[in-house]
Symmetry: C2
Subunit: 193 residues, 2 copies
């Protein structure tokens, strides 16, 4: 029961952080949403910071796990990269992790900031691995992976700014067109690198 | 004198918004930074919202003007696009406009949100014009311009998250490598489009 209460509290915090950010979310709101008792909250998470550290770490693990499921799959690397880029995203809502870079509580706390940093470092690594399989050397794969992750993060910013998910889709289409010029044979591809 | 006080107040607000965001900045702080009298503030800007609307509009105009100076120049379009992408940026500080998409006061106000939207719509238009000059059709130029603007916005997010301007530079390098595969002749370029 106690591990279950902990899980429910973390999930409630993750949902509230996604909707309103960490800075604007109070432990009282997490408690109300979770439905667990106040004693459980203070037992598992003596401070708001403890709860935030656990919930942000969980969001990072969830999001990296879902990216890895696509990027480390069995298909051709081109296909996996395209699948990752074209994944349906609620773009006007913003990225659950990316938005934390604008959250003053997150950026002012070394642990929370470390989690956000871990997310992007590992995500770039995952994408770079797929580009390496395509034959890029390590430095070029890393640059291209940083570009790809930036397109997704920038796509979220543009979709929020313009109030339209179409901006994310346009940013991804523009990148895919650069990554996959038609026709795509090995000879053709080698001319780009 | 009165137009001068207005300009000084707007500049003070722009600087405080860039540092702390709109939501966290009070008219009192703007007053203190500007050094003008309280009467001037309330004469020019009866509400915090009036001041924010003027200061955000000014930031959008300044930033678009500086982008247009590079993107509408006399050089080859390839050169202008590369110059725009490679412009030195204090990336870990975040984009002065892009960060506003995470500011609750901005996103909750139709006028302020409209300014942020105007910025990105016009910036994408500016970049798309340069790609059109390179021979892309309107739809492809628009997609590619959205990708380029997303790379810059995402580069800011990654640089903030990783605490390192190198992420912006890597994202831009990765895009330039896709835009300018060596060698770059007209025949070579036409194969990408």
């Amino acid at each position: 029961m106690t591990a279950e209460a902990r899980r429910i509290l973390i999930e409630a915090a993750q949902e509230l952080y996604a909707a309103n950010g960490v800075a604007a979310t109070t432990p009282r709101e997490v408690l109300a949403r979770s439905g667990v008792g106040q004693g459980s909250l203070y037992h598992h998470f003596p401070s708001k910071r403890d709860l935030a550290a656990a919930a942000v770490a969980q969001t990072v693990d969830d999001t990296l796990g879902s990216a890895a499921a696509t990027l480390d799959g069995a298909d051709e690397p081109e296909r996996r990269i395209a699948d990752y880029l074209e994944r349906p995203r609620a773009a006007t809502a913003g990225c659950r992790v990316g938005r934390l870079t604008a959250d003053p509580v997150v950026m002012g706390d070394e642990t929370l900031r470390g989690e956000v940093s871990r997310y992007f470092a590992e995500l770039i690594e995952l994408v770079a691995r797929a580009f390496t399989e395509q034959g890029l050397d390590a430095a070029a794969a890393r640059d291209r992976a940083t570009t790809a992750v930036a397109v997704i993060q920038g796509g979220y910013v543009l979709s929020r700014a313009l109030g339209d998910d179409a901006a994310m889709r346009a940013a991804v289409r523009g990148l895919l067109e650069l990554l996959e010029p038609a026709p795509t044979g090995p000879d053709e591809r080698s001319r780009h690198e």
